[in-house]
């Protein structure tokens, strides 16, 4: 035994005699993680969160979240002698006078964008592969919660520098709060510490941004990851993989080395972007004053779709009994996102109600094999994309010489027409892909080699695919639609007739698919 081994042994012994961790750690180190590129998306989220914590902590060392007026005396010539908030002045100082400060600001902002993008990508991966199904519904809901927290944290974050752009964003935020019936005006006055822009909002959202919300993030991420750990990761179907096992690399050493290395790569990519690509150059915007604005005011991309919805809303307000209800704000900014996010959070339960499937699932779906769900996902993406396009309608109009009114009308109509269209097209595409799978299994791969038969006929040689591939293409389950008869066994009408009818209809739509190839089919084709 070497001295190093001896010392390590002693330390381990010291710990284990006190907390008895050896058993648990041993079990954990044998934990197996399946390998697939799409499983990295969740990792990107976690790593960019760590990067946000690190770079954010650095920024707090210099940032002064105060709305008190100061006269700028720093090194940036164009703003010298101008009155601004201490928050804006200290952000300028971080950008120009702290060595590496601008780099850290850009790392923080790039990491935030990549964090949100990775969350969305991870969510789509989980959705399209059905990884949210039992027993992972809790984790799905926690994921939606993290996404929602991300919106708020991001909005607060880019509002803190108190530049002209972010102040405009806060102006809109306060208008959304004010639009809430009954209590909106009061909430707005309390949050801002008076009439907009108030005196206390920046220090308050600073506390939320650096303490409360990161704390919530940390707690939810911990539970999220612990559940993945405890429930074991899902895996794609394939030879040797079943609902009862998990095939992959053990945590030590391969997974640990890959995951650790990947953290540095994510960090490195973000640092590289921050070194070469400017983001949020607040010194160009100037300090916030409510009487001014810059053309082309845009929120960060993950808020852009909400802004796009607000932009396309019809000019609807109700005036009655001395009160005003702004539907043009409430519907796009609160009601539609509320429905969208609630629906998203409940989707695992909705799908299981439709299919009647209450079993555990650890093998992932190939998106094409669940056409209805895939189509629903693409439909939602289309909805958000149309809204996002409209959120940038002014930028699109100036860059492509279009009229803003045309883009707005395109979005207003498109938001109703395009998502259903996307649903239909995606469903068709899925069925076509299923057909292609079926052909591949039955007839093999087209080789492009033509052979002339003695009879003069030309035929193309098809090469059979491997057993493994054949299994992957046929191992999915094809559950039939629920049969919900309107009467029970004795011919008595069951309660909840309409509910059952809707459920049966949805179930039928969900079960649409091409019959997959069976062993029998293969035998038959061999005989020919």
């Amino acid at each position: 035994m070497t001295t190093a081994e001896k010392r390590l042994g002693n330390a381990a012994d010291f710990v284990d005699e006190r907390i008895g961790a050896a058993g648990w750690v041993k079990k954990s180190l044998n934990k197996v993680f399946p390998d697939h590129w799409s499983f990295m998306l969740g990792e990107v989220c976690m790593y960019s969160f760590v990067i946000l914590l690190l770079s954010g902590t650095f920024l707090t060392l210099w940032f002064d979240p105060s709305q008190r007026d100061v006269i700028y005396e720093g090194v940036y010539e164009p703003l010298k002698g101008i009155k601004m908030s201490a928050a804006y002045a200290s952000t300028l100082d971080i950008s120009f006078e702290v060595r590496g400060g601008l780099l850290m600001r850009q790392i923080h902002h790039w990491a935030a964008n990549i964090f949100m993008a990775a969350i969305v990508a991870h969510l789509l991966r989980v959705f399209f592969t059905g990884a949210f199904r039992k027993p992972r519904e809790f984790n799905w809901i926690l994921g939606i919660l993290l996404l929602t927290l991300g919106f708020v944290e991001g909005l607060f974050g880019y509002s803190l520098p108190d530049d002209l752009l972010s102040g405009t964003g806060l102006r809109i935020t306060s208008a959304i709060i004010q639009a809430i019936p009954l209590v909106g005006t009061y909430i707005s006055f309390f949050l801002f510490g008076g009439a907009f822009p108030g005196v206390g909002f920046l220090p308050r959202i600073f506390t939320l941004h650096v303490l409360l919300i990161p704390g919530a993030f940390l707690a939810v991420i911990t539970i999220h990851v612990m559940l993945v750990w405890y429930q074991k990761h899902t895996q794609f179907p394939g030879p040797g993989k079943t609902e009862k096992n998990v095939v992959g690399h053990p945590i030590l050493p391969v997974y640990m080395a890959k995951a650790g290395g990947f953290f540095f790569i994510v960090f490195g990519v973000i640092a590289f972007l921050s070194a070469v690509a400017s983001i949020n150059p607040i010194w160009l915007y100037g300090p916030y004053t409510p009487g001014q604005i810059s053309a082309g005011s845009q929120p960060d991309w993950y808020m852009g779709w909400l802004d796009g919805l607000v932009r396309m809303a019809p000019p609807l307000e109700t005036h009655a009994f001395g009160h005003t209800v702004s539907w043009n704000i409430l519907i796009p900014a609160l009601i539609v996102p509320g429905i969208l996010f609630t629906g998203m959070a409940l989707y695992p339960f909705i799908e299981s109600w439709i299919t009647g499937d209450k079993r555990e699932h650890h093998l992932l779906d190939r998106p094409r094999n669940v056409p209805n769900r895939t189509a629903l996902g693409v439909m939602s993406i289309t909805f958000v994309l149309v809204a996002l396009i409209n959120g940038g309608n002014d930028i699109l109009a100036t860059n492509f010489h279009l009229s803003i009114n045309q883009i707005m009308w395109f979005s207003r109509i498109g938001i109703f027409v395009l998502p259903p269209l996307a649903f239909v097209i995606t469903k068709r595409l899925c069925l076509s892909l299923q057909r292609a799978d079926r052909d591949l299994v039955l007839h093999g791969l087209e080789t492009g080699r033509l052979v002339r038969m003695p009879s003069g006929e030309f035929v193309e040689i098809h090469e059979p695919i491997s057993d493994q591939k054949r299994f992957i293409l046929t191992s999915h389950e094809q559950a039939p639609a629920l049969e919900l008869s309107a009467t029970d066994a004795r011919g008595v009408k069951r309660p909840g007739g309409i509910k059952n009818k809707v459920r049966a209809r949805l179930s039928k739509a969900h079960a649409v698919g091409l019959p997959k190839v069976t062993a029998e089919d293969l035998k038959e084709i061999e005989h020919h």
């Binding site: 006055f189 074991k232 030879p239 290395g261 004053t289 009487g291 704000i329 559950a479």
Partner: protein
């Protein structure tokens, strides 16, 4: 439900594909090579860290270099950023290269268990909880139950109440501005009163209400006071007699704060005489009293009643007769 897929005969699972050895597993030379590659990557990471330190200590913060496509770049910022980026990237690449080429790559199989607890465990749990509840006799001690509910209910109130002092009550703040009858319009920036005769047709001026020297304009004032003065040809107006009476000599004054969400309505198009809010593209027709002709805003921009004083300077004849800015529940929009 559990055996849907076994009703038809599925294609048999052929088991995992045979394991393929990597070069480094069988060829000692390849193994050595891979080892060297990993070492080089780690070495490059170290060198990049040195670049970062060098940039921090030795490069002045005001040195710029022109790089095609990227334009003028601060050398220190670039050195710090690239040093950091490459030290991280090479570290990560080294670790992954090591894992892929040299670490054991055989796949391992773990087994899953169903998450549902056994029936005995569940029954035991229910029994324990029921037993505890019975021992506490909560069901029979209704006095305790009710008083506990009472105290917990009241206990929840103070945390909400304690937040009350976050801000003042709205009172009349959203309904009033600093415009009063006789208030002079002054330019923003500049703070100069405006002679009506100085405004040419087509002129647009941003103004604020004149304030006594010693009072400081708060941002919350600037959030509701700005007024846009626009002069057009008087015959171009298509206004009701009351609204027309609020103009002066072709000069019309609107609140600059958007009636939708409160952004500054800053874009004026001379040829069409339209005002456009850059936030959500609500478009207001100046000739028709800032009527909304496009976009999400539901109300015209409030119009300020203006005239001139004895010296010919523009003044407000009356305060705004409605709230400026975005709507809110208490707003009386009739």
């Amino acid at each position: 439900m559990s055996d849907v897929s076994t009703e038809i005969e599925p294609i048999q699972d052929p088991g995992p594909a045979p394991h393929v050895m990597r070069n480094a597993d069988i060829d000692p030379k390849a193994e050595k090579r891979a080892e060297q590659q990993v070492a080089i990557l780690f070495g490059l990471s170290g060198i990049s860290s040195l670049l970062l330190i060098y940039s921090y200590v030795f490069i002045a913060s005001d040195v710029f270099v022109f790089i095609p496509v990227m334009g003028n770049q601060n050398v220190q910022q670039l050195g710090l950023g690239l040093g950091m980026a490459f030290s991280l990237l090479f570290l990560g690449l080294g670790a992954i290269h090591w894992a892929k080429k040299l670490m054991p790559e055989t796949e391992v199989i773990n087994h899953r268990h169903e998450f549902r607890s056994s029936d005995e465990d569940r029954d035991e749990l229910v029994k324990t909880v029921k037993h505890a509840a019975a021992e506490v006799k909560l069901g029979r001690r209704s006095l305790i139950k009710r008083s506990l509910g009472f105290s917990l209910g009241l206990f929840a109130l103070p945390p909400v109440l304690l937040l009350r002092d976050l801000g003042p009550l709205p009172k009349k703040q959203l309904e009033t501005t600093n415009w009063k009858a006789g208030t002079r319009l002054v330019t923003d920036p500049g703070n100069r009163p405006i002679l009506a005769s100085d405004l040419e047709v087509g002129a647009v001026v941003q103004t604020l209400p004149e304030m006594p020297e010693e009072t400081e304009r708060l941002l919350s004032d600037i959030a509701k006071d700005p007024v846009l003065l626009i002069r057009i040809r008087e015959e171009d107006f298509q206004l009701s007699p009351e609204k027309l009476a609020m103009t002066h000599d072709g000069i019309i004054a609107f609140s600059k704060i958007c009636s939708h969400m409160g952004c500054a309505v800053a874009l004026y198009e001379q040829t069409t005489k339209h005002l456009l809010c850059p936030c959500h593209q609500s478009t207001f027709d100046v000739t028709r009293g800032a009527k909304v002709i496009f976009g999400p805003a539901a109300r015209p921009l409030p119009q300020l009643d203006i005239t001139v004083d004895a010296e010919g300077y523009l003044i407000a004849r009356a305060p705004f007769n409605e709230s400026v800015g975005p709507s809110y529940w208490e707003r009386n929009s009739q």
